[in-house]
């Protein structure tokens, strides 16, 4: 006998009491990235290839710097969850756990390096 509706089970109230958070997290980060990515492409694209002084001055401006920080932060968090799904699809057991932890560590590390660098350039 099932007392839950299909919808309640799908939104995370099944016997496991969870399950849809990962998908919801992907929705949130991908919606944010549809706005951030175009802005990042055209600001970073301008900065890339500039002389050192020009590039440093360009990324001292608030708009390119904030777009850069947000894109690296949301982008790596999105990558973290997306690559976790891929790892879960193709690997099992200890390897799966090890790869997921390594991928999460890599994403947070890259996000931290990138954001620290932009803050340092901008300030």
């Amino acid at each position: 006998m099932r007392y839950l509706t299909d919808r309640k089970r799908a939104t995370g109230l099944g016997s496991a009491h969870s399950g849809a958070e990962h998908h919801w997290h992907m929705i949130v980060t991908s919606v944010l990235l549809t706005g951030l990515v175009p802005m990042f492409v055209f600001t970073f694209g301008l900065g890339l290839g500039m002389e050192y002084d020009q590039a440093a001055a360009y990324y001292s401006r608030p708009f390119p710097a904030i777009i850069g920080i947000l894109t690296l932060l949301v982008g790596f968090v999105h990558f973290r969850s997306g690559v976790q799904s891929a790892i879960e699809d193709y690997t099992h057991g200890f390897l799966r756990k090890a790869l997921i932890i390594a991928a999460i560590g890599l994403c947070y590390t890259l996000a931290a390096i990138g954001i620290f660098a932009i803050v340092r350039i901008a300030l």
Binding site: L33, Y52, G75, F79, A86, I113, A117
Partner: protein
């Protein structure tokens, strides 16, 4: 549910391989995943560029020189194509999640639009930037 038979059920065949011919829906889907994972390369290069810019002129010359060399340009060009493609694929997922455009014909047409759209967006970006 201990009485459920878990060992002897028919399995759905994997979408790539001998069981299915290539289709727009399956191919555009797997390429969303491939482009998403491949974008880590561009991510590494972009973080390197920012770190070098924060470090100083010498480090910057090395990083910027590599990323704007013919090899770096090639990687960035395909990353850009992959980025636009992945973004269009994500938008397709958001539309699907809302319960729209789920029939096969529309999904296939959207897949074809993603390929064309990502190429056009890449050409546009290369011209503008």
């Amino acid at each position: 549910m201990p009485d459920v038979n878990r060992g002897n059920r028919p399995l759905s065949p994997f979408m790539i391989g001998q069981y299915y011919r290539p289709q727009w829906t399956s191919m555009t889907s797997i390429f969303v995943r491939i482009t998403g994972i491949a974008l880590i390369v561009a991510g590494l290069m972009i973080v390197w560029w920012f770190a070098a810019l924060a470090r100083g002129p010498e480090a910057y010359a090395t990083a910027n020189g590599f990323i704007t060399s013919w090899f770096g340009d090639l990687v960035m060009f395909f990353s850009l194509l992959g980025l636009w493609y992945h973004m269009l694929g994500g938008i397709r997922h958001l539309i699907w999640d809302s319960g729209r455009m789920l029939d096969v014909e529309t999904s296939e047409r959207f897949g074809q639009m993603m390929v064309v759209g990502s190429v056009l967006l890449t050409i546009f970006t290369v011209i503008v930037v």
